[in-house]
Amino acid sequence: MTKLLEWVFGVSVIGAAWALVTFDLLNLRLPVAYKEVAWPMPVYLLVVFGCYSLATVGYRVATFNDCEEASKELQDQIKEAKEDLRKKGLKM
């Protein structure tokens, strides 16, 4: 089974379970609180995923170390490349 089929299958199973609780398809008569928690679930999972992504990006921005030497080396290389291209006739 391909990965796509696995994911589609998994999502369908979870989606069916969610629809069952939200729309009461089997007339299970669950407590009201359970239905209240279930129906925003897709939006809730999206928001949680968004929060996790934002936190990961923020944390990695905060802990990314400066590399002074590499920065200087890169800027020298850019200068060199510009000079070289200018000599060969490319207008900057």
Binding site: P40, V43, Y44, L46, A55, G58, V61, A62, D66
Partner: protein, 89 residues
């Protein structure tokens, strides 16, 4: 190649940890709203700090819409700026 590594500078750290803090706050508030509140008695004082349940789906929906519109507008503006007139042979 040996490099001396310094930690991230002030502004980077501030913005980064700000993002982390904001997403933690958002996660906590939203989790209490969606998952915890239905199990809390309706006369508990906590309910007054949260909007009605419908808004817990509508507000993220509006936010997603605004995000999509912003991205689409940005792409449109950049594409428009970069259009080149056709060459005449």
């Amino acid at each position: 190649m040996l490099s001396i590594f310094l930690t991230a500078t002030g502004a980077d750290q501030a913005v980064g940890m700000g993002l982390v803090g904001f997403s933690l706050l958002l996660f906590t508030y939203y989790t209490i709203w969606v998952i915890i509140l239905p199990f809390v008695d309706s006369d508990h004082v906590a309910h007054q700090y949260f909007l009605q349940r419908e808004y817990s789906v509508i507000l993220p929906g509006i936010a997603a819409l605004i995000l999509l519109l912003s991205v689409g507008t940005f792409i449109g503006v950049v594409t428009w700026k970069n259009r080149k007139p056709k060459k005449v042979d």
